[in-house]
Symmetry: C2
Subunit: 671 residues, 2 copies
């Protein structure tokens, strides 16, 4: 027998997952409607295949949906018997199979002696444009892709405690799991989930809860939730809880050791945070939204390249962010998020060299460029219009009018699109390059003040802001839009100026610390990581938070969005030490667009002895740095090891070629 596998319309597996997940958010007893239009798969598709059989064979069709089969373009259609099997004579045939499923993914499994489903089939969605069918390794005919889920693993609580009428179970760390209870009394049982102990015990205000009927002392909760604690009511000493954690099982390469316990904990908790939010897509967080947000995905992407280089989850996340129907609103309805998405597409290609995917999504990106173009003001600045959310950050900022940081992001987006077009589509886009250059000039003319030596926040109704914020300065620094002189001014007047409003979200810390690192001040970056992320660890974090203000103490720290426990305590953007360490301590990056070769430029002075393991585009890189030596090994890719030329080398020098499979050692004299 040939090996059949489930097939579907290209990309529709991703759209099915996206639609399902975007609609699974709940807040207490309410289902939450996605905040933006969430496209799903096509509900009606037709598969087609021409083939020639050497001899007659029986072919079995298994359909998740309603099947309409036509053999040899006959005017009559075939109704499959219960067994779903037809017999086809030897010779040339044409099989046409319409599949309809109004929710979920219409998909088909075909298996015969020689004939099978797979990418050799063509499929169309009713527009008569035939594409190759898509598959993704679903070989079991009785388990449709609609039923797929992340691998499940049983976990047990580490502590239990009678509290009032119920029992509090502590699973020891943040998780995303489905809870099963036993030893319950009859009737209904309630489960109050908490990322903190306080939240679980506060049954009136915890963000999520479940009520289930007890059957034979047992009760199963309907879906996995994000939590560390559960408070089960009513329950007594007889009650037991276990949970089934769902986690992706892609191997993680990222690892870091430096002898500094706090730094190692920070790295481990960051990696755990990253892994928990890396699911069917890169989610923002576990407890609350579990949505795909562009601002979050972009940061997860940069962490991905230094943690497990999982391009499938990344590609799928970038795909669904772009949307399927017409681009008539900003991605996630947020102006900045459209721009991050275009930049994220560029970084994807820069790190992976995958032009195929870029060619697929480029038409969408062009739609967004057109959408942005009609939202420019008379100066060509991209402004928020009715229905747009100009977000930037959770902070005290006025985002009306032309916000400088948005223009900097827009300028970078235009350059990213131009480079993608040139490199992946082979089409020069001087129009975009010229637009970007002109925009950059206008940004500097409009928002840079010589007096303050930096960019001010924005311009509303023709009037420049009095206020300086960090955002535009950070982005312009990172995107290489500044002269040497301007860079120094920004470091002095903004990055290291406590008078400028501080950033309090790990989200913007990502960019701020990246800029600080780019400026060469790695010690300050490390000091900050220790203080800020270390602060969360001290507060008992087992994963990093959506927002953290060291000055807020007690249960107050869990509040956000006007709700006592509104804050997510496991948030993707909290994991940025993964990127900061990989990119600026290990100093790893692609040598050029496509990542054919790497550069490793470790920061020598960071710790007395440290080592790390990181993924490259192919294989892994290990680095060990100590007093007077650096050892590097790459499993599959070639690259260059760069060290400060000022070192008094004993073995090797400032620039060393690294070839796959071979350990390179450079030594220098310790002074």
């Amino acid at each position: 027998m040939a090996k059949g596998e489930w097939m579907w319309y290209p990309q529709d597996f991703a759209w099915m997952l996206y639609h399902k997940i975007m609609h699974s958010r709940r807040q207490r007893e309410s289902a939450i409607v996605p905040s933006w239009r969430t496209d799903g798969p096509y509900d009606s598709v037709t598969f087609r295949r021409e083939l020639t059989l050497q001899k007659a064979e029986k072919i079995r069709f298994v359909c998740d949906g309603r099947l309409t089969l036509n053999i040899d373009d006959s005017p009559d259609y075939t109704v499959l018997p219960q067994s779903g099997e037809i017999e086809l004579s030897a010779g040339a045939h044409t099989l046409t199979a319409g599949v309809v499923r109004f929710t979920g993914l219409p998909c088909l499994f075909v298996q015969g002696e020689t004939v099978k489903s797979g990418r050799e089939w063509k499929v169309q969605c009713g527009n008569n444009i035939w594409k190759d069918a898509e598959t993704n390794g679903f070989f079991d005919s009785i388990k449709s892709p609609n039923d797929c889920a992340l691998p499940e693993k049983k976990i047990t609580y580490v502590q239990r405690q009678r509290v009032g009428e119920g029992v509090l179970f502590d699973f020891g760390a943040e998780t995303m799991a489905r809870v099963c209870l036993s030893g319950c009394e009859g009737g209904f049982v309630s489960v109050y989930y908490g990322e903190s102990r306080e939240e679980a015990l506060d049954s009136e205000h915890c963000e999520t809860l479940d009520r289930a009927r007890v059957d034979g002392g047992k009760a199963q909760m309907p879906q996995e939730m994000g939590f560390r604690y559960i408070y089960v009511v009513p329950a007594d000493d007889a009650a037991e809880a276990e949970a089934y954690e769902r986690c992706i099982d892609y191997p993680i390469a990222g690892d870091f050791h430096c002898g500094d316990t706090l730094m190692e904990s920070i790295y481990d908790v960051a990696r755990r945070t990253y892994r928990l939010t890396e699911r069917e897509f890169f989610f923002d967080g576990l407890k609350r939204d579990r949505w795909v947000w562009s601002g979050d995905v972009f940061q997860s992407e940069m962490m991905d390249f230094y943690t497990d280089f999982n391009t499938e989850v990344l590609r799928r996340s970038l795909l669904v962010l772009g949307g399927k129907r017409e681009a008539d609103f900003h991605i996630n309805t947020i102006l900045d998020y459209t721009l991050y998405w275009m930049i994220a597409l560029h970084r994807y290609a820069y790190y992976t060299g995958d032009s195929d995917f870029i060619r697929e999504v480029f038409p969408r990106a062009e739609q967004f460029l057109r959408f942005c173009a009609v939202r420019e003001d008379e100066n060509g600045f991209l402004c928020g219009k009715e229905g747009d959310w100009v977000f930037l950050d959770w902070a005290d900022i006025d985002n009306r009018g032309a916000v400088c940081a948005e223009q900097v992001l827009y300028c970078e987006s235009l350059r990213c699109m131009a480079e993608l077009s040139a490199r992946c589509l082979g089409k020069q886009r001087t129009d975009l390059m010229e637009k970007a250059d002109s925009l950059q000039n206008k940004i500097k003319q409009t928002f840079w003040t010589g007096e303050k030596g930096c960019f001010v926040h924005g311009k509303i109704d023709g009037k420049l802001s009095e206020k300086t914020t960090r955002y535009a300065n950070i982005f312009a620094f990172l995107f290489g839009m500044l002269t040497e002189q301007e860079r120094s001014a920004v470091v002095q007047n903004v990055l290291k100026n406590d008078a400028v409003q501080a950033i309090t979200t790990p989200y913007m810390k990502f960019y701020e610390l990246s800029a600080l690192a780019e400026s060469g001040d790695i010690p300050s970056v490390l000091q900050y990581i220790r203080a800020y992320w270390g602060g969360m660890i001290e507060e008992g974090a087992t994963s990093f938070w959506e927002e953290y203000d060291p000055n807020v103490r007690g249960a107050e720290k869990y509040a956000m969005y006007g709700r006592k426990y509104g804050k997510s305590l496991c948030h993707a953007w909290g994991a940025s030490p993964l990127y900061l360490i990989g990119r600026y301590i290990a100093g790893v990056q692609p040598e050029s667009f496509g990542y054919d070769r790497f550069i490793a430029q470790p920061y020598i002075g960071s710790f007395r002895r440290w080592s790390c393991r990181l993924p490259l585009r192919e294989g892994e890189l290990t680095l060990a740095v100590g007093e007077g030596y650096c050892i590097v090994k790459s499993t599959k890719q070639s690259g260059r090891l760069l060290l400060p030329s000022s070192l008094p080398f004993l073995q090797g020098g400032a620039e060393t070629e690294v070839v796959p499979g071979k350990e390179i050692i450079v030594r220098w004299e310790v002074q």
Copy 2:
């Protein structure tokens, strides 16, 4: 209490109906997948209303879908109790209601003392573009728009006959009805539907059938089907059948009497055909597709203006033809059908003056113009590309390359769009006018042969067809693209030239006879109607057919598409005598774009005495013409009665103003 009514996202009621109906086609035991992408409603919408209450009131919410309610933009959502009622205090409030329904129409019914659902609510589909909610008179909270159906009427058979193991019931005329049986034996009963007696009795080959379980001697078929006969097996003398016909109940104005029994029958059967296919949309036919096809809708539209002027069904049909997602394939996948749609939009506005609807759909039409533009060949001719169906007619024609008739339709489409833009959007489109003029010149230069004095069929691979077909000549004649000299040539060399391949579908007869009528040869038109449609009546037609060839006799005449009973015997495009009589015998048409006034120019010599009633844009027009007189009355609209100036008038003259409510009589001397 305020009067609540169901509300939904604008246009989504139409998309719900369209999706449901396009997916209801069956052929014997197979469901047929729609031949083109069939868009449905948005599955997730949010309603919003700001209001101020003088005093506290209770408000009831009924939701067809899953409701998430938020009061006053609270961070907490509201879970409605079973009763679906909230109490709102006096003062200012904001109500936000998310509604999710994965298939069908998400919709909401709100009712309080003063607060109610309705068009004062705003609604959006996740793109943050707020629109006015839509309603359509669904005031019953327990009957959601998702359950709506056309009004039902019980009908009974006129004859029954034992045949073999079953009973054949004849309902006397074509119908669309749901069958209910009684007096059946146990187990399962089969119903074989037939538009002809032959079809119903041919259980192996009839197009549609149902099998249902008998319960207490009774069996109900699941949905309405198109048929005249049903053959019920097994059944004996105890078996009884009744049916519930579903028909639109919009009042019909169209009526015609002329003392000629055959002509009156033709008119009546045409009107019945029209009415049966005028349902949620203008369908092609009852038995088979029950789909919305642009070529059919355009003709139904022209009949509509002379039969019942039902703009709701028309608007809904035109809307869904345009599609909802991106325009990446021709309407119904057929090149000509995109063009008919644009022309149909123009005729809609020309006859109704409804600029609002045109403004709504114009962006879609512009997408199709762009879609067509990229399908032009190097001469600017619109050609079929991969995936396109160049249809024109069921006939022996070669539609590869540049087909002349398609260019004529394209040229008219461009002019229609330009006029719609100017009149309904207030925007001159000289680009489209110039493109049309240039295309018309190229059409004449390329396809007109002086030798034959007409257009040839097309041009394939740079080579002009040897063959002349009627299509391009008819369309160019109708759309006013010909000089006087060219018109005469076309009448002589094509319309009245039996050597040119004859048209055999009522579909193309519509255009051919219109052209003949425009040429002034009404006698030939009437003679043809009598012969062609009269021929179907003689064959026992109770509704007009998809195709009719007087030379085919016996059960052969029911075959089409390679199937014994593939032909539809109740097909919208068969009803064109309605249009031909209204437009060319009664001679009624708008005086100008928008139909503010009418023109009636009755054809005096058609019958000895005849009278008709026709709808106008507002109200009705009655006309009676006999030997020496013409009586005309309009109930609501003003217009002009035009008679041949050559008549020897006794009372009134060649041109008479008609004012509403007043009967006008013009008399002349009979010679």
